[in-house]
Amino acid sequence: MDTASQTRTISLSVNGKSFSKTVPVRLTLADFLRHELRLTGTHVGCEHGVCGACTILFDGQSARACLMLAVQANGHEITTVEGLADGDAMHPLQKALSEHHGLQCGFCTPGMLTTLVELLNDNPAPSAEDVRIAISGNLCRCTGYEGIVAATLDAAAQMRAAGGRS
């Protein structure tokens, strides 16, 4: 049987919800999230792992959803941009990006957000240089990154003041 028609049934958690789906073995994780689960916030910018727009959190670690297969997510926990806000209340990073004009077209924003959530989990008090290094694998053609860096430092300060938030 060729890879085009083989399928597997996978079970995984996405943004805290459990899913069980039968998927083609060659389906990328990005396409699975976007087209099977209709979570279209994860964007596909290059499909070769350079631009970072498709970055999701895989068991809390940032990963390129375009370079993974859906079947690799079997038994794992995924967080996408849709899972960052708490209902109507946006994550401090989301609010700070808006306040600091850290997005224009917004296409790279979901990948920036997931990458930066991981950064702030690992390092609650990053320097501007730390932020730049963290997002050096996420391309943005609109902002020149300035607003994103400023927003991250601001959000980090707010989160520290609020006693941290996972």
């Binding site: 389906l27 916030g41 224009q104 077209c105 730049r132 694998g137």
Partner: protein
């Protein structure tokens, strides 16, 4: 300088309307649109830069389960009014007719040209099948370099064309021969700015769906020009205007190439009409490298004549512009380059011979800056050369030649492509340069440079001036309507592609209608929402759509106040609009909601409309502004060059500019910083490589490098000057492209300064580390070191 604005929304950095959905993953880009039973297209594209097509065998592809059809031009022809996309802007300069085919039939002329379309249940299956479509090609010699293409014995980029000259014209005024003959000094040089790729983070994409009950074909396209696209599609598909609608969904960046109508848009639309199935095509990044238009390859052979003081007497030369394989837009980039080069300066005599040359590379159309970065690069390089030869400070040479502030408005002898005179309408260029250099510490820099050199560091400071033509007319319509629930609906032909267009329009309208941004909905880029439209390009939307939004909002405001005065029995002058209500100024006492006014003017059978006005609380305006308004600026860049590795670190960027009245300070700065990042990439990183057979050799983002966060300098240091344009009510000048325009020039100036002890001369960009090392070694061997 303008008087302080007495405004509450306009001129303030209010929250963007766009942000919430984008931040929560709830925005709707073209690939987020989906229909049950949707088919997907993968295109079969030419692997050859130039070849004849002997035949196309679809049989193996059609055997793949899930494949519905493989379409070639022969299949599409009966359903189209034309095989060609005739979208070129008019010009008498054309020497060849080079319209793109919808799909290539007998000949392919660049790698990536679409030959066939595979329709299948999924993109995965469509790509499997596309690999099985056998196209029998006869490869032909290809033209890769636009200079070589002009030789009599050069291969023809199109087999049946008599030559490779797409268009030719000249531009100029005065008497260059006389000026050069009597000049104290004449300096000449060849310059080259390289081709690049727009690289919007979202590639192109199209979805089409035919609604059988209404026979309405809806096309969602990631485009900057939905109204122009609709016009082309109505013609091609022979559909009435009310049976076709083009919608621009959220767009993940445009930067120029998405203003062009593409073959893929035609194929998706016609296929949806042919099969009655919803159809989607999403461009992948490799396709973006080979099928989306590119820009910037220009070779300039220039001479400048100056007097002993370095004052410019004349400028002349030739420009060879790489046009790519087809005319996908016009002669506009080369025209824009030729018309931009003189602008900041008083240049009494000017002549440029311009040739647009066909090559076997993807077509060339505007990318952010549209010919202006190249022109500024050449002009500023020439002025640095004059400064060096005459041993005058680089800033001083410019000071002696900038158009003096007191001569604004300055009528140049140049004309725009539509024949309007180029008049520099506002600004003070010498003051702008002085502000930039003051901030950059120009006077103190030589001492810093010597101190750094003593520590083994090579630092340099460069500068560049630009004047940008913005606000291309003649109009961009905006309608403003207060619905019966009090909500304000704004629609425009302006297209949003990430530059905050919806926020900008809402600000202008809110200022007149209650100052409540949350009460405003904006539709930008939907042919179903407004009849006419031009779209997003040429730094025009705040100028053109902003002016129409202002005019329409004023009309609606006047009518709302008039009707309310009748409803409340008080004079209009006593009323104001605050939030969603019309009330006595300062509040208190009687008031009426906008919703009630809208209901009242909607009319009741048999009753008077209050105030006897025309029904409806709405206005549509098409403010006509034919003349362009000219923004200006000065950029200073400091670099630190590692002479061992050739690595250039951009240490500082100072940007002094004047875009007239600023509607939203953060949006303006964001536009400029993004442009600066793009321009720094053009100066140092972005290389779209082709081999001698015109085969592209950089088709991933690992080979074609963009500025990432770690290459960017510390935050840009701004100086905002604000001289309102007299050409529009709001005093706006465009700003979307300004950041990119002076960057390659300023970076080259800075690197040359850093390497002044090596006496290097920079005449091309981009400059990679090996280029820097070669410059140092080349200069060393030339100087006999």
């Amino acid at each position: 300088m303008s008087a302080p604005l007495n405004t509450r929304i306009v001129g303030h950095s209010v929250e963007r309307l766009e942000d919430r959905a984008l931040l929560r993953g709830e925005a709707r880009f073209v690939d987020d649109i989906s229909f049950p039973g949707m088919w997907h297209i993968a295109f079969v594209r030419s692997p050859h830069a130039h070849a004849l097509i002997n035949g196309i065998d679809k049989s193996a592809a059609l055997e793949i389960p899930g494949v519905h059809a493989v379409l070639t031009m022969a299949d599409l022809a009966p359903h189209l009014s034309d095989h060609l996309l005739r979208v070129a802007l008019p010009s008498p300069a054309y020497r060849l007719e080079l319209h793109r085919p919808v799909l290539a039939e007998r000949e392919v002329v660049h790698v990536g040209e679409a030959v066939a379309a595979v329709l299948a249940d999924s993109r995965y299956i469509a790509e499997d099948a596309a690999a099985l479509v056998f196209v029998d090609y006869d490869p032909l010699p290809a033209v890769a370099d636009c200079r070589d293409a002009l030789a009599d014995d050069a291969p023809r980029a199109h087999q049946t064309a008599p030559h490779n000259l797409a268009a030719a014209f000249d531009m100029g005024y005065g008497d260059c021969d006389a000026a050069f003959a009597s000049a104290a000094h004449v300096f000449g040089e060849n310059y080259w700015q390289h081709r690049g790729v727009a690289q919007s983070m979202e590639c192109r994409g199209v979805v089409a769906n035919l609604e059988p009950m209404s026979d309405l074909l809806t096309v969602w396209s990631s485009t900057q020009t939905p109204h122009a696209g609709k016009r082309v599609l109505c013609g091609l598909l022979r559909r009435d205007e009310d049976k076709l609608r083009v919608i621009t969904p959220d767009v993940g960046g445009g930067f120029g190439p998405k203003l062009v109508f593409y073959p893929e848009e035609a194929v998706v639309a016609v296929a949806a009409q042919m099969f009655g199935a919803p159809i989607k095509w999403i461009e992948d990044r490799r396709e973006h490298f080979v099928a989306t238009t590119q820009e910037r390859d220009q070779h300039w052979d220039m001479q400048i004549a100056v007097d002993v003081q370095g004052k410019i007497l004349g400028l002349r030369g030739t420009l060879i512009h790489d046009h790519g394989a087809y005319t996908a837009r016009g002669v506009n980039i080369a025209y824009g380059s030729a018309a931009a080069i003189t602008l900041p300066y008083v240049i009494p005599n000017y002549f440029l011979d311009i040739k647009l040359v066909v090559t076997n590379k993807v077509s060339v159309t505007p990318i952010r800056g549209a010919g202006q970065p190249q022109a500024v690069f050449v002009m500023e390089r020439l002025l640095d050369r004059v400064a060096r030869e005459l041993k005058i400070d680089r800033a001083e040479v410019r000071r002696r030649n900038l158009v003096p502030g007191e001569q604004i408005p300055y009528k140049t002898p140049l004309k725009t492509r539509g024949g309007m005179q180029v008049v520099l309408d506002s600004g003070d260029y010498p003051a702008c340069q002085a502000a930039a250099l003051d901030k950059a510490g120009w006077e103190d820099f030589p001492a810093r440079k010597i101190a750094a050199r003593a520590q083994g560091r090579y630092i340099g400071l460069g500068l560049a001036n630009y004047v940008e033509g913005t606000g291309r007319g003649p109009f961009e319509p905006v309608s403003v309507r207060v619905a019966e629930n009090g909500r304000i609906h704004v629609a425009s032909g302006a297209a949003a592609m990430g530059q905050s267009t919806k926020t900008m329009l809402a600000q202008v309208v809110a200022e007149q209608l209650g100052c409540d941004m949350s009460n405003i909905t904006v539709v930008a880029g939907d042919t179903g929402a407004i009849e006419l439209g031009m779209g997003g390009f040429n730094s025009r939307q705040a100028v053109m759509a902003g002016s129409s939004a202002h005019a329409a909002a004023l009309k609606v405001r006047a009518k709302a106040l008039y009707v309310a005065s009748h409803m409340l029995g008080v004079g209009e002058q006593a009323l104001e609009i605050e939030g969603t209500a019309i009330r006595l100024k300062g509040g208190g006492g009687a008031q009426v909601e906008l919703a009630e006014v809208a209901k009242a003017v909607a009319g009741l059978p048999g009753y008077y409309i209050p105030g006897n006005v025309e029904p409806g609380l709405q206005a549509t305006e098409h403010v006509i502004i034919n003349d362009m308004t000219y923004a200006n600026g000065t950029c200073a860049v400091e670099v630190d060059v590692d002479v061992e590795t050739g690595l250039v670190k951009v240490a500082r960027v100072v940007f002094a500019h004047d875009c007239g009245r600023v509607l939203h300070p953060k949006i303006v700065e964001g536009q400029i910083v993004g442009g600066i990042a793009h321009g720094l990439g053009n100066a140092l990183l972005e290389w779209m490589g082709f081999d001698e057979n015109a085969q592209p050799v950089s088709t991933t983002l690992a080979e074609y490098l963009l500025m990432s966060a770690t290459e960017m300098p510390p935050p840009i240091e701004f100086v905002h000057l604000e001289s309102p344009s007299p050409l529009n009510e709001l005093g706006i000048k465009g700003v979307g492209e300004s950041g990119v325009i002076p960057m390659t020039a300023a970076v080259a100036s800075a690197i040359e300064d850093a390497l002044s002890s090596f006496n290097v001369s920079i005449t091309k960009v981009p400059l990679s580390p090996p280029d820097i090392i070669a410059l140092i070694h080349g200069a060393a061997s030339k100087n006999g070191v």
